[in-house]
Symmetry: D3
Subunit: 135 residues, 6 copies
């Protein structure tokens, strides 16, 4: 198994709450993450792509191309955004780290060649992260 | 010169803009940091305290006490907050990293014993930071 | 597969030696880790929990709860301790990084819901680590 | 599953190009990595060894021995070298991170006891890495 | 004193040797850094700019502008280059970390407004670095 | 001002207490750092040496020589030791991070040429550190 990784970062605001829950329940479940005025993070994203090496180039995938895909599909979409208000992906989905990771995975899974396996790790803080590989 | 440092982190949302400027000028100066719906960061704060060693304890300052002061005065105040909307310190002050650093310095300078010199480094991202020592 | 991770640290002293071995054999196997007066480390622990996302909350597991479990079960038990002298888990078990990792895994495995898979990575120094998932 | 990891670093120069390709094709595929005068990196290598714990020592593998093997077989071979010109492994193999990782894996696989599984992660920069486990 | 920092990286090859010294003397002084085929590093550069805050913008200096200056003047000049062969700055200057730091400082000092004080820290590896402020 | 830095690490056990104080006072001042069976840390040491560049070599100080001095004078002395029991420097000195930093500074100050200025930063954990330059 050969995998390559590209690491990048984006900065976003978000809030964890459900409009169909009472204020009390939102506070009980989401605590200070339920600040109505939002808070934010520097998200660190590792995208891992698994596949065969291309004997002709010595690349599994050209990391310049992977970098451009991540920039266009993920960073340009989420960087310096409010995930709740600016991003349609989270119009009806709570932007927990878990859901952000799943959304990012799905976006990249759709644009990357089906011959690759894809997995991502998303760090929300230096102490909290999520891994997802679509299985 | 002997200095001790305590490092901590907080997560906040902010927006850079001046209400007395046109939208065009705000965009020209602040770019994507002028998203009206805010974005956010994991801020990393290093607080440095300079002074004489206490020969009795071997401490310059008890870092447990410094940690509590930083928690009470800075983290509880700014963590999981929207700096523009939730924090009176920035009601009339643009929350650039520079201004956040100065505000944090002034708060800590007021509560720490005058016998100490104080300086701080505030990292807004892994690539951007500010140092301030009140001079 | 969805996994979340919580990272934390603790500081402990330990010594690697077997009382049923000669001094020579202990030195040959454990080298300077067999200092009779102990040495110590800042241990960094990553706890990974794998499972299904809770569609209601958007959490796999509430990381605030996971953080509290790690604090209560691991940090309070091992932080600022001598693993050999203070911790019954190592009364008859050599506190190598491997054994510490297995002990931590077993403790967490017992308190975390059986619906989760658990794995841990324990860094003893910035250059040495252990991964264990109970298999 | 129990795995231990040893992390180390080496610094090397390299160039990505194929002598059987035109200059234009080399530039198109390898971009600035095709500088005829070479560029270089600080490579960070994580070697993971998987196996059973030795109940007698509490070690999976003695990390002092693993460190010596990595030093002798990998660091002494590649550190402060030009991978293209100084290292026979790359006489006919383009030293992409993928190929370097595979070469390192094969060297270590040959010298480590067959009872162990081996995998490596090689970071070429803080943003780019490769994982390989021989499968 | 208020200072802001921008961190960036570049990758380059280099060799330490003096053509007017014997091979023996070059080896004695520069050791394995005197590999005739070069080796390389991921250099990490911190540029610190000191000055007054602009009360109008809340910036000391617009970090987007500083980032562009560093990209144009330093990264585009040295990234993926052989410092000895490709860079006229080192035609007659040994590219030690000290000299690279001084060269970078001088370039930035010339393009940054004289009202600022400038200092840089250049990390050649995770264990070696140089600080220079022109004094 | 030109300064070079060499970073290194050592692992040690220690305990903070004064034998001339009551148990209650030791607990009040030193808290869990007063565990009679010791605890420990991975200490990270940055040694900064300031001086003039040697125009002949392009070095301020040969970092290979500085590395050897740090290894011989500091790492061999303190690594895998109990600072209280094994190290005469702390026979009558409480091994707080402040005192360890001062001791390390004094040792290095004595062996490094008087033409250099010396300063050190010692990290006891990723969140706590001390700076000392002898003034």
């Amino acid at each position: 198994m050969l995998k390559v990784c590209r690491r990048s970062t984006f900065n976003a605001a978000h809030r964890l709450y459900r409009p169909d829950w009472s204020e009390e329940k939102n506070d009980a479940v989401y605590g200070k993450c339920n600040n109505p005025n939002f808070h934010g993070h520097n998200y660190t994203l590792e995208v891992w792509v698994e596949g065969e090496i291309d004997a002709s180039t010595g690349y599994l995938i050209d990391l310049k191309i992977l970098k451009t895909i991540i920039q266009t599909e993920i960073i340009d979409r989420f960087d310096h955004r409010n995930l709740n208000l600016d991003c349609s992906e989270f119009a009806n989905l709570i932007p927990t780290a878990e859901n952000i990771a799943i959304v990012i995975y799905e976006i990249l899974r759709n644009v990357l060649d089906a011959k690759y396996k894809v997995s991502i790790t998303l760090w929300e803080t230096e102490n909290n992260s999520v891994f997802y590989d679509g299985k």
